[in-house]
């Protein structure tokens, strides 16, 4: 079970969180024209990298904030967590 540091609440067990997918995907702006290719890429196309990956988790049984987690998909090592408004490099 992973040990995830919520930027609001501190270190908490994985069972308090729910996984929310790739954090680097940006939704096309609302009310703006978008090509069907860009849209399909946004909806369907995801990379499945081995190694470092920035993903979204929600602290669903805690503060209910969505957060960013930089995790190694092979080893589960977590390098960094951040608020969604913050950048992870």
């Amino acid at each position: 079970m992973l040990y995830i540091k919520c930027p609001y609440c501190g270190l908490r067990a994985q069972k308090e969180f729910s996984y929310g997918g790739d954090a680097t995907v940006k939704r096309p702006n609302i009310n703006e024209e978008v090509s069907s290719e860009d849209w399909d890429n946004f909806v369907y196309m995801r990379k499945s990298p081995r190694g470092k990956h920035i993903e979204l988790w929600q602290h669903i049984a805690g503060c209910r904030q969505w957060i960013k987690v930089q995790r190694d998909t092979a080893t589960h090592e977590i390098f960094q967590t951040a608020k969604v408004t913050e950048e992870i490099r």
Binding site: M1, G20, R27, S36, W39, W66
Partner: protein, 998 residues
């Protein structure tokens, strides 16, 4: 009742307390502190089971977790447990143990015929033999194999015992209380670290209990006791015996299995039987020690053959002799300690040492005591069927591939030692890449991935001095990093015997013209020849050899067999062991009970139960409940001997004719506030929300970004910047997360807050043509006319002195209202409604009637919004705005969503107007067509239409409305039904929707 193999004085058992037990029906006794194994051996019983494949007689081999053979069915404290390790289970009064995998008895086992047919049972036998005819597998082969290969029998009784889970956090977890574990725990504790020390066995000390050593002039045992006593007195230390750390998971989470009360005769009511600990440790010390490995020789599985350290442990800990004419067969010095222990107890051993004549401290001592030592000798084959009687021994030649001077010596036990294998299971589970250590012919931990450090024998350090030093240093350094204090500890003086080098020898060659089985893996009956066959047949990867032969795949995880198997493969392949590699170690290290894994999450505690404030009323009025997620909802209210079908028809009919009330508290409710709330709803829902006036509700449809319908419900504008959203019961949690996602991540610029208020409001729906009359009685002061409170209208008013919200919305398709009051007033509201509603013929209705009402109206719900449908599939495209953007809009243009023949919602009625159509039925053109019969759609919801008094179903079907008027078959192979149906509109009742507006 004498115990012929019990020594008079030796051992740590409590001789004052006799314990009686039975084995295969025979009444025996042992002492408190015995294991089942030690008590049986004390009674001279060695034959305890039959082997897995050949049903060969098997006895004890080890004295702890390494035991591959002695798995018993054990009954105690009123329950029966299979596959109990006899070497680990402590004796309790009244315990009854029986042998497994033998019929009719362990002494006469019919399955043993397999032993004489062994040429037909080579590795891969099942893969090769039971392949044809194919149909025989399920009916003949598999049941037979299962019966023949079974281990114990799982109880079918309900487990009455209590199991618990515990979560714990610590600075340092120490797994094993041998010398290095004690040293680590002590050093860390002195540095102020929060320490948990776990010991699998009942007694602390590990090898200190059996080795002839002294530390600071104390015996090993006394030193261990001194350290444990001090650790127990420290507030920052938790010391646990009978606790096996069996799994190493991500981020330094380890799981431990504690046998809390299995050893107790009596316990208090709430004492759990076993406990599962989830321990999050900042650092872990793996002081798991090492396990002796055997040397392979002919018939090396005969009862009476032991690991030499186990024989010593039986003497030193339990005061039990494994035999009175022992043969010690070794390639190293450690077995000499066993020989000396025998000698001390006036038993004369013979030592067969595979090494050439040489000298070391231990050898010299054995020699001086007059022990018969034969160098360059080994056991060729053990004789005896149910118990070893003698052994054929021989002198090994220089290359150790043949022997001379073959002779037979009498013996009643053979104690074998092929050197030591560090227990690297937990290190490997943690992701540590192991390395092969040539010096000890075994793997030790190397590059770590997590915060773990193996100390002492687990790291290949086999002397006490090294182990202690390693333990103290690592315990101190690792904890100092956490606590930032370092207390100096002087490392104690150690007195131990020096060992000479071991012999890299692990398997005896076969004698000429003889072919006895030489077992590598006892528990799975894998012999040298099986591995040879696998390699001959082309299996090269050790992982494949393992799976083909099942080497190391039994519940003992190959603790005594893995390395010998690897040696064999590397010899045949002419590779060195590190190139062959090792197979993966997986949790659990030892088998644990299912009960412990489940813990308290059984029965009602399996998941939380959510009850509405009116639950008690429903209970009192014969409601039959149905689970809706965690909620309990009344499915119907049973009157007399009514069936579900009759009751739901009555309730639904009453709504159509009079008025009914339904508990709708379980609907998801989300409070939405903020200046941008309207804009937010406008983006979340497919329809327009900017112009919804205060005091009005609107039905809304929510999509996922891929265009699929996510949820539907009504949202009401309570005030300028305040909305009340409802969701379906099932999607409530998902919708809230969905809204939070968009507010926090995608559109943080929107000033909106959302919070779940599902539990804050109790809700009741009043539905039926007389609902307005009833409402006017409930709110005598309020104008409830169609003009004042029209369809989709909203009002706030006092309900007999209690604040309430009135929504004129309808799921049943009738004139209907939903009243919300604060949860605390829910019961008051409900009872008042029942009282006031009497004169209008009001009756409560459950979810079954509710479904009937919505189905015949053609209102969609979960079965139609099944994660595959877009708005036009379920005739809701009228709600999809063409003017504005919203979540999922761009996906609706996808080609596949706009194909004319796409499956869409329709209604179905049976041609005979009688036969109910099973939900899930497939719609086909020709019920007799050859399979695979082209599927045109499926039946999503079915009911008995109370309005038209015949069955009616909703279906999602190819070409949708274009099929109206055509006839098909709805077939359900599951229910063995085929019903001819006609396609009609999905709106079977009141298609214009007049009633809700009346």
């Amino acid at each position: 009742m004498s115990q012929p193999f019990r020594l008079n004085k030796e051992g740590l058992i409590n001789r004052k307390k006799k314990i009686s037990f039975t084995f295969n029906g025979k009444k025996l006794f042992g002492y408190e502190g015995d294991t089942i194994a030690s008590a049986l051996i004390a009674n001279g019983i060695h034959l305890v089971g039959r082997s897995f494949k050949y049903h060969r007689p098997r006895g004890f081999f080890g004295a702890g977790v390494e035991e591959p053979n002695a798995k018993l069915q054990v009954e105690f404290n009123g329950h029966s447990e299979p596959n109990v390790n006899a070497t680990e289970m402590e004796l309790v009064e009244g315990l009854s143990a029986t042998s497994q995998n033998c019929w009719p008895s362990v002494n006469f086992d019919i399955g043993a015929i397999n032993n004489f047919l062994k040429m037909f049972f080579p590795a891969g036998f099942y893969y090769k033999t039971f392949m044809w005819p194919k149909s025989f597998w399920y009916k003949i082969y598999e049941p037979f194999i299962r019966k023949a290969a079974g281990l114990g029998v799982a109880s079918i009784e309900k487990d009455k015992e209590r199991y618990e889970h515990k979560f714990e956090y610590c600075d340092l977890l120490v797994t094993g209380s041998g010398p290095s574990g004690l040293a680590s725990a002590y050093a860390a504790a002195k540095n102020g670290a929060k320490v948990i020390l776990a010991e699998d066995k009942p007694r602390f000390g590990g090898t200190l209990l059996t080795d002839d050593v002294s530390i600071d002039n104390l015996s090993g045992k006394d030193w261990a006791e001194k350290i444990i006593t001090e650790l127990k007195s420290m507030p920052n230390v938790t010391v646990k015996n009978r606790s096996q750390v069996f799994g190493y998971y991500d981020h330094n989470m380890l799981v431990m299995f504690e046998r809390v009360s299995d050893h107790l005769e009596k316990k208090s009511k709430f004492t759990p039987r076993q406990r599962l600990w989830y321990i999050r440790a900042k650092e872990t010390i793996l002081s798991t020690g090492s396990i002796e490995r055997p040397i392979v020789f002919g018939n090396n599985d005969t009862p009476g053959i032991f690991l030499s350290a186990a024989a010593k442990e039986y003497m030193k800990v339990y005061g039990v002799l494994v035999g009175k004419k022992p043969l010690i067969f070794t390639n190293n010095d450690s077995a000499y300690e066993t020989a000396l222990e025998f000698k001390k107890n006036n038993v004369e051993p013979i030592i067969l040492d595979t090494r050439k004549e040489h000298s070391s401290e231990l050898i010299d001592e054995a020699k001086s005591k007059g022990i018969d030592i034969r160098f360059s000798h080994g056991v060729i084959v053990a004789n005896g069927y149910k118990k070893v009687k003698s052994a054929k021994i021989g002198k090994l030649n220089k290359d150790k591939n043949s022997f001379e001077k073959i002779e037979t010596v009498d013996c009643d036990c053979i104690c074998v030692s092929g050197f030591w294998t560090p227990s690297v299971h937990l290190a490997s589970q943690s992701g540590n890449k192991l390395k092969y250590e040539e010096k000890i012919d075994a793997f030790i931990p190397d590059k770590k991935k997590q915060h773990e450090t193996s100390v002492g024998a687990a790291n290949g350090l086999f002397t006490l001095e090294e182990s202690l030093k390693h333990g103290f240093e690592n315990g101190s350094n690792l904890s100092a990093k956490i606590t930032e204090t370092k207390t100096e500890i002087s490392i104690p003086n150690v007195n131990e015997k020096k060992y000479g080098a071991h012999d890299k020898f692990w398997c005896m060659p076969l004698p000429k013209n003889e072919n006895p089985k030489r077992f590598v893996d006892f528990q799975n009956d894998v012999s040298v020849s099986d591995i040879e066959i696998a390699l001959r047949e082309g299996y090269r990867s050790i992982e494949h050899v393992k799976r083909y032969t099942t080497l190391g795949m039994a519940t003992d995880q190959g603790r005594t067999s893995n390395l010998n198997g690897l040696q064999l493969v590397s010899n045949i392949e002419n590779k060195i062991v590190p190139e062959v590699g090792h197979t993966t170690f997986r949790p659990p290290f030892t088998p644990i009970t299912i009960g412990t894994i489940v813990g308290r999450e059984v029965g009602m505690e399996y998941m939380p139960t959510r009850k509405t404030p009116m639950h008690e009323w429903h209970e009192k009025n014969n409601a039959v409940f149905v689970d809706a997620g965690a909620w309990k909802r009344p499915r119907y209210y049973k009157q007399g001997s009514e069936t579900l079908f009759e009751a739901s028809k009555r309730e639904a009919k009453n709504v159509r004719e009079n008025v009914g009330i339904c508990d709708v508290t379980t609907l998801g409710k989300i409070d939405i506030k903020g200046p941008d709330a309207a804009e937010f709803l406008n983006r979340v829902y497919t329809n327009a929300w900017m112009k919804l006036p205060v005091g009005k509700a609107r039905y809304g449809l929510m999509l996922r970004e891929d265009g699929i319908v996510m949820d539907d419900g009504t949202t009401t504008r309570i005030s300028e910047n305040h909305y009340h959203m409802t969701t379906t019961t099932a999607q409530a949690a998902n919708v809230l997360s969905h809204l939070e996602y968009y507010l926090q991540i995608v559109w943080p610029e929107l000033n909106v807050n959302v919070v779940s208020t599902t539990e804050q409001w109790a809700g009741a729906a009043i539905a039926g043509p007389k609902s307005r009359d009833m409402l006017s009685k409930l709110y005598p002061e309020l104008d409830v006319s169609n003009d004042a409170l029209p369809f989709m209208g909203y009002k706030e008013a006092e309900f007999f002195g209690v604040p309430s919200r009135i929504f004129r919305i309808s799921f049943s398709g009738e004139l209907a209202y939903e009243i919300n009051v604060k949860s605390d007033h829910g019961m008051f509201m409900w009872e008042k409604m029942m009282e006031v509603g009497k004169e209008f013929g009001n009756q409560p209705y459950g979810t079954e009637a509710l479904s009937t009402l919505r189905i015949e109206m053609g209102h969609v719900a979960g079965p139609e919004l099944d994660g595959r449908t877009i708005p036009s599939d379920v005739s809701l495209n009228g709600l999809v705005s063409k003017k504005k953007d919203f979540i999922g809009k761009n996906s609706l243009g996808r080609e596949a969503f706009n194909v004319e023949s796409r499956q869409k919602i329709v209604g179905l009625i049976p041609i005979d107007r009688k036969s109910s159509i099973p939900e899930g039925s497939h719609i086909v053109q020709d019920q007799n067509a050859k399979l695979p019969n082209p599927k045109l759609g499926h039946v999503s919801s079915s009911c008995w239409s109370v309005e038209n008094n015949n069955p009616f179903s909703l279906a999602i079907m190819k070409d949708g409305k274009n099929m109206i008027g055509k006839k098909f078959f709805a077939v359900s192979p599951l229910k063995n039904k085929s019903i001819e149906v006609e396609v009609i509109s999905s709106h079977y009742v009141d298609p214009e929707g007049k009633r809700v507006r009346s």
